[in-house]
């Protein structure tokens, strides 16, 4: 018995080859080529130049600033994410959908607008500008401003991950713990946290990646002072604009490696812990 035609749900071979070729070349040209270019250019002048570009004082300062900003923003956003998910998943109250929409807001706002709003509040022509200047407090063009902008663009990540997960998991276990006499904190630490740990990790991972890589919002509030208020992405821009391509791509390569590690960890988590991650991830 020979089959001379394909199954009714299979595409004919020519179509498969065509679509496959289109998909692969599109992804290759659009996504992979730029990535390849980053690493190629970073190492174009050899490993030694690459190394010196990395340990150059302004580069190191940028790395340090990025890490500090993320180091403040990510934990704060994690606490927020947990709090928001807790009250949304474990309780009923009016305005819940509005709250969830509000949490999603930064995703629909341009990063430049995200920076702009803090300038409008803290800038010299903003609401608190003169008062801050009088008291010699620097929010903009300094770490606090950068942290604020970073917090704004990254706070949904942990919350968005935990909310559907915790809603999905329900309240039974926590209610059982309550009837057994556990305090809120005990319930959270011993019952909830183990259940959400992979979702939490996933959210923190994405939050962190975005925090380190954020450009637009931070660009508006930073002031671009070389070696002082430049995060890694801003430093990349500075070097590139000054035609220091080796330097720019060196720092860019570092950021790209971070992105690849994030992608790898993300894929790993999705693959192994599909059930424990939010329902939205189950393909």
């Amino acid at each position: 018995m020979t089959k001379r035609f394909s199954k009714p749900t299979e595409d004919p071979l020519w179509l498969k080859l065509l679509l496959g070729a289109v998909a692969i070349s599109f992804i290759g040209v659009l996504l992979l080529l730029p990535l390849a270019l980053v690493f190629t250019e970073a190492l174009a002048k050899g490993l030694v130049t690459f190394w010196y570009a990395m340990i150059e004082p302004d580069s190191l300062a940028a790395v340090r600033l990025s890490l500090i900003a993320a180091g403040i923003a990510v934990p704060l956003n994690t606490v927020f994410g947990v709090a928001a998910a807790w009250c949304i998943a474990k309780f009923d109250f009016t305005g819940k959908t509005f709250l969830v929409t509000l949490i999603d807001l930064p995703f629909s706002v341009s990063p430049v607008v995200a920076g702009l709003i803090y300038v409008l509040v803290f800038g010299m022509q903003g609401w608190f500008g003169p008062w801050l200047a009088d008291h010699d407090i620097h929010i903009l063009f300094a770490l606090p401003g950068i942290v604020l902008a970073t917090i704004f663009v990254t706070f949904p990540f942990v919350a968005r991950e935990l909310i559907p997960l915790m809603v999905d998991q329900g309240r039974d276990e926590e209610e059982a713990a309550a009837t057994l006499g556990a305090t809120g904190l005990q319930t959270f630490l011993r019952v909830t946290l183990p259940n959400i740990k992979w979702g939490l990790l996933y959210g923190v991972l994405l939050c962190n990646a975005r925090a380190l890589g954020e450009f637009g919002a931070v660009s508006v509030v930073s002031g671009h002072i070389r070696g002082v208020t430049n995060t890694m992405p801003l430093h990349v821009q500075l070097l590139y604009d000054n035609y220091d391509y080796a330097g720019a791509f060196a720092v860019a390569a570092l950021l790209a490696m971070l992105a690849l590690v994030t992608l790898a960890l993300k894929t790993l988590l999705e693959w192994r812990y599909a059930d424990e991650l939010a329902a939205s991830h189950r393909h």
């Binding site: 018995m1 089959k3 001379r4 035609f5 199954k7 009714p8 749900t9």
Partner: protein, 239 residues
């Protein structure tokens, strides 16, 4: 125009789903393939429908080498356990689908199609539901629409894959009786897969009891019940 299935085998990777299955049924017969899950009954049905390919063996029906034809030319109406209705189309469009996709030469006029839809809805006892969407129907209603849809193409063979499996007992009994009535009215050769022996025996002219890819016994319901040929058959019927 009888159905002659001859020595069909089918393997999925290493798993032998069908190990040489043969049967003959006269034109217009109502055949039931009965057996536990894994017995190969659904695989055989899907091969008859053109949704799977046999590794070896042949099928002759209506003087045609059945397996040499792709699914869409066989004109074999297929009814799925989960209905497989087109959710984005109305009931009328679902039923008319097989007629609407015909090449212009063979396509009836719009009014003829509409008339046929109304006729079929009456036949499956769902008059007036043309403009509803599947999501607005109950399970039993959806299956009736699926049946009407399969009948719309005036099939030469009707294939049903555990069509009442997702429905409750009362609805099952009703649909079972309606199916038999429609079969008798249309005179179409029907192959009906089920794991429920009461159902098979109530509705079929010929029953094939299957196990592990083979037909253990094949014959009229009363014969099979009175003279079970193997231990498996008598155990299965006693259960």
């Amino acid at each position: 125009m009888s159905l002659a299935v001859d020595s069909i085998t089918k393997k999925f990777r290493r798993f032998p789903a069908l190990n040489g299955v043969s049967l003959v049924a006269p034109q217009g017969a109502f055949v039931s393939l009965l057996g536990p899950s894994g017995s190969g009954k659904t695989t055989l049905l899907r091969i008859l429908g053109g949704l799977e390919f046999a590794d070896s063996g042949s099928v002759r029906f209506a003087d045609l080498n059945w397996l040499d034809m792709p699914a869409r030319t066989r004109n074999a109406g297929f009814v799925f356990q989960q209905y497989a209705l087109f959710k984005h189309m109305t009931v009328a469009d679902n039923i008319a689908f097989g007629l609407n996709v015909r090449p212009r030469a063979r396509r009836p006029s719009k009014s003829a199609i509409a008339a046929r839809v109304t006729e079929l809805l009456a036949l499956v006892q769902l008059p007036g539901l043309e403009e509803r969407y599947p999501s607005q129907l109950s399970g039993g209603q959806r299956q009736r629409v699926a049946l009407a849809r399969a009948l719309a193409i005036e099939p030469r063979m009707l294939l049903l894959d555990e069509p009442f499996g997702a429905l409750d007992a009362k609805v099952r009994k009703e649909l079972r009786a309606d199916l038999r009535r429609i079969h008798d009215h249309a005179g179409v050769t029907t192959v009906f897969v089920t794991h429920d022996q009461e159902e098979a025996f109530a509705v079929a002219d010929l029953v094939a009891v299957m196990k592990d890819g083979r037909i253990e016994q094949y014959g009229a319901p009363t014969d099979v019940r009175r003279n079970p040929r193997t231990e498996f058959v008598s155990d299965f019927l006693a259960a």
